[in-house]
Symmetry: C2
Subunit: 202 residues, 2 copies
């Protein structure tokens, strides 16, 4: 069998991708170790060699997604960005990941279904709020926003607004209109922050 | 037994309230007809006389909440409000219902868990977006907002922003900071809409 030749790290990745597809599509309750084994073209024993329980699959996906660049930080490969430019890149990056990366999609769904999962998942939102708060402080020093903003409060609102935009876009259009809605959100939010020379960032 | 004396409509309401508490707390998957019977102080047979399946309990709760005033309309008992005043009353009313009304809380959770439920739930958001779009048109006629806004698009963003605010507030503080966050959201959103004489509405 071709799959038996795969090296352990390759097999682990293949299992995680299969699990992500199932979690994103069926949710935590609808996914089983047996289904993940079938979808990754291997057996239950090999899945359980890498991940003892279904909750370990969920944890591995969520931890990997949450430690990834756009959630806590800006895009890893992009040239270094600062202040408002970094905030815009981060919000666009997370929106893109929601659309294009099934592991991120699975993680977002799993984090919403945390009550079903017998493991402690990381708390969503807080890392991103902290990071955006820091970037708003940078933006103030650089003269990109007026002084006197409550940076952490504004960061909270950016993350909450983003979260609602992705949720409603997902529910009403399966995220088809997400890029357009994100640009609309950015225009409204940056204007509300009083960003100087707004057009340069959009 | 006292419960046997209850008239059918009273018993139906008692069962629905017990179901709402369980759905809000444990979600759809964690709730059963047996548990609802126990919590409403009756038997499985009587629950099933009113609601054949668990999905019928979920449907009844969601339909009642969605047809209720604040979702599609403004608060039922309040004096008639128009334009921006009605939008503010509607957003505050829905936020209050999320905090104080276990049937609304259950409905919101059930609508999020729609993939688990063997019944077609009404689509969330769209009724409220339509209603707020109409109120924004009223507001334009009354000179409360500048002309030329895309009312339905702005309504979409108000509902999405609200949805994210309640989600993040729920996740990080179990909605303890929701009233404060809603006022912050209203101040930012009405300013972004260019509402004339803003302070009069907040």
């Amino acid at each position: 069998m071709a799959t038996s030749d795969a090296r352990p790290t390759e097999m682990r990745e293949r299992i995680l991708t299969a699990a992500a597809i199932e979690f994103a599509d069926r949710g935590y309750a609808g996914t089983s170790i047996g289904l993940v084994a079938e979808k990754s073209g291997t057996g239950k024993g090999l899945v359980q060699y890498h991940f003892k329980a279904k909750s370990d699959l969920a944890l591995a996906l969520v931890h990997a997604s949450f430690s990834k660049a756009p959630f806590a930080n800006v895009l890893g490969d992009a040239r270094p960005a600062h202040g408002i430019e970094a905030i815009v890149a981060s919000i666009r990056g997370v929106a893109g990941a929601f659309r294009d990366d099934v592991r991120v999609r699975a993680s977002v769904r799993l984090v919403r279904e945390y009550h079903l999962i017998e493991a402690t998942l990381p708390t969503p939102y807080v890392g991103w709020i902290t990071r955006i708060g820091m970037l708003l402080r940078e933006a103030e020093v650089a003269g990109e926003v007026p002084g006197g903003l409550d940076h952490d409060r504004e960061a909270w609102h950016l993350v909450a607004y983003f979260s609602g935009v992705q949720e409603v876009s997902n529910r009403l259009t399966e995220r088809e209109d997400l890029p357009e809605r994100i640009e609309e959100m950015l225009a409204r939010s940056l204007a509300a922050l009083g960003v100087v020379n707004l057009e340069a960032f959009l």
